[in-house]
């Protein structure tokens, strides 16, 4: 006997497409980026990775080119999408995830800590405060990803284009200095996002496969929303959507 559980549409096709576009480019850019950095002092991936990738692509120059062009396609497509859909998608999303006040940040951190503790059977007596569409961890991750993505795009563009376009030697070390700091920011931002992505992927695949399903079909089970995101459920109720 199969019972059809009631669902509602919570994501449009374009949002799903941009999510998977972002995921695919992240994977490619991280893999190629880790392949470019080969010096022992600054390398992030094990030594075999840059060697392997550079051999496959016929040298680091090709890898840098691929990474640079890939990065500009990633930033360009997301930038244009964000501009074209500012009102319909981006602003509501930002409103939902941006953590701008210290109070909100503290509330989100505490709900994240409780959620994490529950994974290990700890803090059982403490329940996670009722969540809106995005929970504390998702909001923190969202804010971090937006800030880091902007930093990655801007620094990446400088790292890729400045050696071709600017005269480093004539700037008395200034442009080179900016390049070195851009590299530090680029790396730090990538590492921060990766840190968050580990949790994001774990929750989507293991703890809440329902949300992964939503990122594929756009449909979410009403019962799941009611149970997981009661504040969002209340909002949907008010809007007459459920």
């Amino acid at each position: 006997m199969s019972s059809i559980k009631p669902t509602i549409k919570v994501r449009t096709k374009d949002v799903i497409a941009i999510h998977w576009f972002n995921a695919f480019f992240w994977l490619t850019l991280v893999l190629t980026g880790f392949g470019i950095i080969s010096g022992d002092f600054v390398r992030l991936a094990p030594a075999f990775w840059p060697t392997f990738l550079q051999n496959v692509l016929g040298g680091n120059a090709n890898l840098v080119l691929l990474h640079g062009i890939g990065g500009m396609v990633w930033a360009g497509v997301i930038g244009v999408y964000a501009l074209l859909n500012a009102k319909r998608v981006v602003l509501p999303f930002l409103k939902n995830v941006l953590v701008l006040t210290p109070k909100a940040a503290i509330a989100d951190v505490s709900s994240m800590v409780i959620t994490l503790a529950h994974l290990f059977g700890l803090l059982k007596h403490k329940s996670v405060p009722p969540q809106g569409r995005y929970n504390g961890a998702q909001r923190l991750l969202g804010t971090m990803i937006i800030a880091c993505s902007l930093a990655i795009a801007v620094t990446g563009m400088y790292l890729f284009l400045s050696p071709m376009l600017l005269d480093f030697a004539a700037s008395a070390g200034v442009l080179g200095g900016v390049f070195r700091w851009a590299l530090v920011i680029h790396l730090a931002a990538v590492l921060l996002v990766l840190l968050g992505l580990v949790a994001h992927i774990y929750f989507a695949v293991v703890e809440e496969p329902e949300s992964l399903e939503t990122m594929k079909s756009g449909e979410a089970e009403v019962a799941f929303i009611k149970h997981h995101n009661p504040l969002w459920y209340a909002e949907l109720e008010r809007e007459g959507k459920v």
Partner: protein, 249 residues
């Protein structure tokens, strides 16, 4: 066996004519005021109270363990199997992370190419079976270049025949492949390699950003792997509890 190229400088034969520098500049068309090699003059008063000059022709030492390669983020600086340290100009960004990393001051940013310049032992000439330009032109035969892995080479013979010294200190010992003959005289401090203050950005990347990032991501993976395993164990326990209660009925 792969070659291991070394440079020998017999300081007793150097007359400070600077022919090596001129040949190098002509070979590499270096901008005015820049050179890939040099002759350092050290003046001092000897034990007899007489003024003396020692001459040290120098260039990139093609170190076994080159910090310039280790700090290069783009892989533009690299070491060939035969020991020659090269810069791939197509990918050198000109970020100069490698400049203070070299304790021999062998690297500089070329204002024409905007990439790093340094001695390459004239690698294109070596690959054609020729000698480096500086060696070819040295009037006193103070510079001798060759394959130290070939027992019949001139450098191998000379290395065995005389007492050679390298520019190394307790602080900087990165396996330079440039040897100096001084007829037993000590090498003055001014010629010795010095650790330079590295760029703050480079130090931050090496000592804080990269280790913290790697640790953090590793830690996160361990936490969530643990959570996943716990979930599996709990589920198994749940199933066996249910089966147990089933059997009792």
């Amino acid at each position: 066996m792969v070659a291991k190229y070394v440079m020998l400088a017999d300081t007793t034969r150097c007359i400070n004519c600077k022919a090596c520098e001129v040949a190098c500049r002509a070979e590499w068309d270096t901008p005015l005021g820049y050179s890939r090699d040099w002759v350092k003059e050290v003046e001092y008063v000897n034990a007899k109270g007489l003024p003396e000059v020692q001459l040290f022709p120098g260039r990139c030492q093609h170190c076994d363990d080159p910090p310039c390669v280790e700090v290069c983020p783009s892989g533009a600086s690299w070491k060939r199997e035969d020991g020659i340290v090269l810069v791939d100009h197509a990918i050198c960004s000109g970020c100069e992370l490698c400049v203070p990393a070299c304790p021999y001051e062998a690297r500089w940013l070329n204002p024409v190419t905007n990439t790093i310049s340094k001695c390459t032992f004239c690698q294109p000439r070596i690959d054609k079976g020729l000698q480096p330009a500086c060696v070819d032109t040295c009037v006193g035969r103070a510079l001798i270049f060759g394959d130290a892995n070939d027992p019949n080479s001139e450098v191998s013979q000379l290395l065995k025949a005389k007492e050679w010294q390298k520019l190394v200190t307790d602080e900087v010992n990165i396996g330079p492949n440039h040897y100096y003959y001084t007829a037993g005289k000590a090498i003055p401090d001014t010629v010795m390699p010095k650790l330079n203050e590295r760029h703050l950005s480079g130090k931050l990347m090496e000592n804080i950003v990269n280790p913290l990032g790697t640790l953090g991501i590793g830690g996160m993976m361990a936490v969530f792997l643990g959570a996943g395993i716990k979930k599996l164990i709990d589920r198994r326990q749940d199933v066996s509890n249910k089966e147990g209660s089933h059997e009792q009925h």
